[in-house]
């Protein structure tokens, strides 16, 4: 086994001899060295160059490979027709791209994306845009549970209602919901922003560590360690701009939305005495 691994090309590149120390890497670089706007090695695409895929008879893998091939040919606008609610479509795209789905997606659609602007003219199943890093995903209708699970960045927008555990364990980014969300939305949220224009289900923001939730409708109940916060002027401005970008409006105006933040009583939970833990819970 050791012989097999030592033959890997990463050994020839010297990647196993570099001395790493400390708990973080201190890297210094010149701010003037680069004027690139895309990742090295990414496809050079043109948004005005459009192509279509009829996905009706294709597997999810074949669709993914086809999208990649088209990006390699410089197509910056790809339209997928007849997605037929297949699972895991539009995943792992690490490129700037306009991607339209003319229909609904199954579960784990648009996961792990870093950069593209995706429009879904239909509904999505569980865990849409799970682990999304950057870009925009806009869904015209409703979404299933675990919408935006563990999202790191970018804008994830559902114009309709979404299921339970929306934004579970989210670590960044913005989730916008035009309608209602189910129970345990923003469960274990660590940072990022969630905007719910309709009503929120029970235990909103349960065990959240950080981040911000804005709600335009009624909140059925708050979860452990989620508390009301005070809206700032910069947040009102940000909300107004963000909603306008996606053609959304707060029912009573952004200034009247409720803001929910972490009470931060669960931080250093292990250091609390049993009696103190009971008070929090």
């Amino acid at each position: 086994m050791a012989e097999m691994t030592s033959k890997h090309k990463s050994y020839d590149m010297g990647m196993h001899t570099e001395l790493l120390r400390g708990r973080s890497q201190q890297i210094l670089f010149s701010a003037e060295e680069s004027e690139n706007f895309v990742y090295p090695g990414s496809f050079d695409v043109d948004f005005d160059k459009r192509s279509e895929i009829d996905a009706g008879e294709m597997t999810a893998t074949a669709i993914t490979v086809k999208i990649r091939e088209l990006m390699g040919q410089g197509f910056g606008h790809i339209v997928v027709k007849n997605p037929l609610a297949k699972h895991s479509l539009g995943v792992g795209i690490l490129n700037r791209l306009k991607l339209d789905f003319e229909g609904s997606l199954g579960y784990f659609g648009c996961g792990l994306i870093d950069g593209p602007n995706v429009r879904i003219h239909g509904r999505v199943g569980w865990s849409c845009a799970e682990n999304m890093l950057a870009g925009t995903v806009v869904i015209d209708k409703n979404a299933g549970s675990c919408f935006g699970a563990a999202i790191r960045g970018g804008d994830l927008v559902c114009k309709g209602d979404v299921g339970a555990r929306t934004g579970i364990n989210m670590k960044g980014g913005t989730i916008l919901v035009g309608g209602r969300t189910g129970a345990f939305s923003a469960f274990m949220m660590q940072r990022g922003r969630m905007v719910i224009l309709g009503d929120a289900g029970m235990n909103l923001g349960d065990s959240m560590y950080d981040g911000t939730i804005f709600v335009g409708g009624k909140i059925q109940s708050l979860g452990v360690d989620a508390i009301p916060g005070e809206m700032t002027d910069v947040e009102i401005k940000w909300l107004g701009r963000k909603l306008a970008m996606y053609g959304l409006k707060a029912p009573k105006g952004v200034a009247k939305m409720q803001k929910i933040v972490a009470g931060k009583q669960l931080w250093n939970y292990d250091n609390l005495e049993p009696a103190e833990k009971k008070i929090i819970l």
Partner: protein
């Protein structure tokens, strides 16, 4: 604490306030406000170009990037390498966090898009297709 002193507290001091922090010699929690949303009036020309090229209308994922402080130096966290990137010493830091965050976003972007970024080597070594 004055405005200037407050913003530089992690550069000018160890920033260890609580008893527990002093015991372990380490700060607990973030050293910047992770919930601070960006004020677009401070966008730099470079960031405007980037937003336009990506087909976005705002900072998108960069909204979650802030200027932090690591081991007494101004630094920005790069999620792709799971480490801090130190801001060059010759960069003069403004006296408000909104402008500092814009500098952090620009620096991080330039670093991530650079051919010298560690992921370029990693990709060459381990990419599957």
């Amino acid at each position: 604490m004055g405005k200037k002193a407050k913003i530089d507290r992690y550069l000018d001091s160890d920033g260890l306030d609580s008893k527990r922090e002093q015991e372990i010699g380490q700060h607990i929690g973030y050293r910047y406000d992770v919930n601070l949303v960006p004020d677009h009036s401070h966008l730099t020309p470079y960031l405007k170009k980037y937003i336009n090229l990506m087909g976005w209308q705002d900072l998108n994922w960069l909204e979650d990037v802030h200027l932090g402080y690591e081991e007494g130096k101004a630094a920005v966290f790069d999620r792709n390498i799971n480490g801090w990137v130190s801001v060059p010493d010759d960069v003069k830091l403004p006296d408000n966090q909104q402008e500092r965050d814009m500098i952090a976003r620009e620096l991080l972007l330039k670093f991530q898009m650079s051919k010298r970024h560690p992921l370029v080597q990693l990709k060459a070594a381990y990419k599957k297709f």
